[in-house]
């Protein structure tokens, strides 16, 4: 309860700022910056989320409905781009397409002395859309695939008996039926893009997160940055309300009988075409970025100061593990409370934990600092950025992610095992520890792993709240990119991807087991 009140208080601060007197700089921001920021952010979010959702839906549909060579391996590989932070993909592709990048260098070495550079030119917006599409489509792939495997069986077989073609089945049946799941994935993608800092900063796109950062760090106007954060939070809340309405009006699933789907075998050119499509997606989203990093690693590992690097790795792992463990514990307590209590307060508690996950890291960082400044008026504390502040901010930001996993696990097992245990003479706590928690281990681990992956990749919050001289793998990657030493970012980037991929692999195994 205390934690819930704390979250509410921290977020309420930003809205209070909207009614305070604006600073001098605010006038400049509204006249020359805000319009551009809103337009570019909306464009980026809408186009990227749409493209990523399209790929995610198509991949989920084909993997669920058709049988072809390599289906199982593609089904697994399609999840993995989630392990690649979008900002690392943006550094890689921007560098690769440049004059000194891999593509133009190879073409020149092959004898194409006059390589037309215009072939490789791109706008920042195009690059950002491309990067977000290839790295974030797995969100829709996961939600849509899980949904389709459960609910498409009956309806698709009926459609086939009515002689509907593959495209018609996909567009007029699978798409509308899976709309709520696709929209859930779409929302996650949109929120990820809104909270991104690394990509838009590197590519110079005037988005909310960069505007907040510049107002705060470059121009030193904390009030205007907070005001921008409040406006962004209003956008996020409006978007979430819209999603809530759509979910309410589209609630289905329970009415459809669950039956496993018998896949349609693909043969000949259609099989070749589908395999080529998936190879293409995996190439751009996984093999090319990782391959480029391996090449860079080969030329840069000698420049690495390994003793500093060891400290950085230690910081990253201790921070990610401690935040993930704390989140899992808090989420367990809140999820158990919402399960046991049927009051509106318990429902609200669950929703409030999700607030942080819907709001960009840079905004959470500002709110945390503002909160600690307010707290200083009551108790004497250090308001310089500290590890406590960073951990608090990360918990605030990712609690929703851990909570969602554990709460959905608790919802699946329900109360019946706890009831059965209590009727055998064990109290609530004994029943929770001996019966519920062992059954919740996959959900707890999934919550832990997903939070860990996000914390290890996290950038804006860590950049703004870390103590002086405290570096993590992610901040080091950002630093190298900011210093135009992208090649040297290979080692920390590869480590982030490797650790994330290993955890993701375990989570995917559990997802697949549950889906089957």
């Amino acid at each position: 309860m205390i934690w819930i009140l704390l979250i509410l208080f921290v977020f309420a601060e930003a809205f209070v700022q909207l009614f305070a007197a604006p600073s001098e700089l605010w006038d400049h921001i509204t006249r020359y910056v805000l319009r551009d920021v809103i337009t570019q952010t909306v464009l980026l979010v809408v186009i990227s989320s749409f493209c990523a959702s399209l790929i995610g839906f198509a991949a989920a549909y084909i993997i669920t409905v058709y049988e072809f060579k390599g289906r199982k391996i593609f089904s697994f590989l399609l999840y993995l781009p989630l392990a690649i932070p979008p900002y690392i993909a943006s550094y890689i592709y921007s560098h690769m397409l440049g004059y000194t990048g891999l593509i133009q260098t190879v073409l020149r070495s092959l004898g194409f002395i006059r390589v037309d550079s215009s072939l490789f030119s791109y706008s920042s917006m195009q690059m950002a859309v491309f990067v977000f599409t290839i790295t974030l489509y797995p969100y829709v792939y996961i939600t849509a695939k899980g949904f389709m495997q459960k609910y498409l069986g009956n309806v698709l077989e009926t459609a086939r008996t009515l002689q509907k073609g593959p495209l018609q089945m996909a567009m007029s049946i699978a798409l509308p039926i899976s709309a709520p799941a696709i929209f859930a994935g779409f929302t996650l993608i949109a929120l990820e893009i809104l909270s991104d800092f690394g990509v838009v900063m590197y590519l110079g796109i005037p988005a909310f997160s960069t505007a907040i950062y510049r107002s705060w760090i470059t121009l030193g106007d904390f009030d205007s940055a907070l005001r921008l954060s409040a406006i962004l939070m209003l956008f996020v809340l409006a978007f979430l309300l819209l999603q809530h309405q759509m979910r309410k009006s589209k609630s289905m699933g329970a009415s459809v009988r669950i039956r496993p789907l018998r896949r349609i075998p693909l043969k000949g050119w259609s099989e070749v075409g589908i395999i080529a499509l998936f190879v293409g997606i995996i190439m751009f989203a996984l093999i090319i970025p990782v391959g480029q990093l391996v090449l860079w690693f080969n030329v840069s590992y000698l420049n690495i100061r390994w003793n500093q690097f060891g400290q950085m790795l230690f910081n990253t792992l201790t921070l990610s593990i401690s935040v993930s463990v704390m989140i899992v514990l808090i989420a367990l307590i809140i999820a158990n409370y919402t399960r046991l209590s049927r009051s509106w307060l318990s429902v609200l508690s669950g929703k409030i934990t999700l607030l942080g996950y819907s709001i960009p890291g840079s905004v959470v960082a500002m709110l945390v600092i503002f909160f600690f400044i307010s707290l200083k008026r009551v108790i004497p504390i250090n308001t310089h950025t500290t590890l406590t502040m960073l951990v608090f901010g990360l918990i605030l930001r990712y609690l929703g992610l851990g909570f969602q996993n554990i709460e959905s696990g608790m919802r699946k097992i329900g109360m019946k095992f706890n009831d059965a245990s209590r009727l055998l003479g064990k109290n609530y706590i004994q029943s929770l520890v001996r019966v519920d928690i062992p059954m919740l281990i996959p959900s707890i681990f999934a919550g832990f792993a997903l939070v860990f992956i996000d914390v290890i990749k996290e950038l804006p919050l860590t950049l703004n709240l870390r103590p002086f001289n405290y570096h993590t793998l992610a901040t080091q990657v950002y630093q190298y990119a900011a210093d135009e030493r992208v090649v040297e970012s290979a080692v920390p980037s590869l480590l982030i991807i490797l650790i994330s991929a290993l955890l993701l692999w375990q989570v995917i195994r559990w997802i697949t087991k549950e889906e089957n």
Partner: protein, 212 residues
């Protein structure tokens, strides 16, 4: 009376599911509560076991007040066993562990002996190492009954015990159950919608028709 329920009422979301229900049950008897679906049979079992809190009424079991206008004994302190319709076996525990879980703290030294005897009674000694997912419906039901009996319940409640079994298995289980409960001297309440089950097993039948 061993179990005395008086004027029991319960409502959920403005709907009155149980209205002024009263009954008395003797020790060592099997009582069947008959009723169609939606008549509140399962809710009644949840109220007796302490999983739900009644709006009003009084219940006394073996001379102890389980609930009245000022007392409410929590489910884990009532010593009432409930075999759920879907058995609710703990999926991460083997058959043996499920039954062991039911053994009371005070009898922990005799745990092995109690479990051995119960496994023998429900004819599952050979399958003690299996997980619930590896057991058939009939086996799962026998594990659930053995687990409930391991706790030496003062009262055993069975929620639609034959709804998940085929006809042949159902007839066999009916015979076995009656034999076990009589051997153990257990006081049992079972809810069912099947008159034949009620007539075969029960010493007394209560009909629940929505008006009680």
């Amino acid at each position: 009376m061993y179990l005395d329920i008086h004027d029991l009422s319960f409502q959920y979301d403005e709907t009155r599911l149980i209205d002024a229900f009263s009954c008395g049950i003797e020790e060592g008897t099997i009582t069947a509560i008959l009723g169609c679906s939606g008549s509140g049979k399962s809710t009644l079992l949840r109220l007796i076991s302490g999983l739900e809190m009644p709006a009003k009424g009084r219940m006394v079991l073996d001379g102890k007040i389980m609930f009245d206008h000022k007392t409410f004994t929590e489910a884990h302190l009532r010593q009432i066993g409930l075999v759920f319709q879907d058995y609710a076996l703990f999926p991460h525990m083997t058959v043996r562990k499920n039954i062991e879980y039911g053994v009371r703290k005070s009898e922990v030294k005799r745990k092995k002996e109690i479990v051995r005897r119960l496994l023998q009674m429900v004819e599952l000694t050979e399958d003690a190492h299996k997980y619930p997912s590896e057991c058939s419906g009939g086996m799962q039901q026998r594990v659930a009954i053995a687990r409930a009996l391991a706790n030496h319940p003062k009262l055993l409640l069975l929620d639609e015990p034959f709804s998940n079994l085929d006809q042949q298995l159902k007839e066999r289980m009916r015979i076995l159950m009656k034999q076990w409960f009589k051997e153990q001297g257990a006081t049992v309440i079972l809810v069912t919608h099947d008159r034949q089950d009620a007539a075969y097993l029960a010493d007394a039948i209560i009909e629940l028709d929505g008006e009680q």
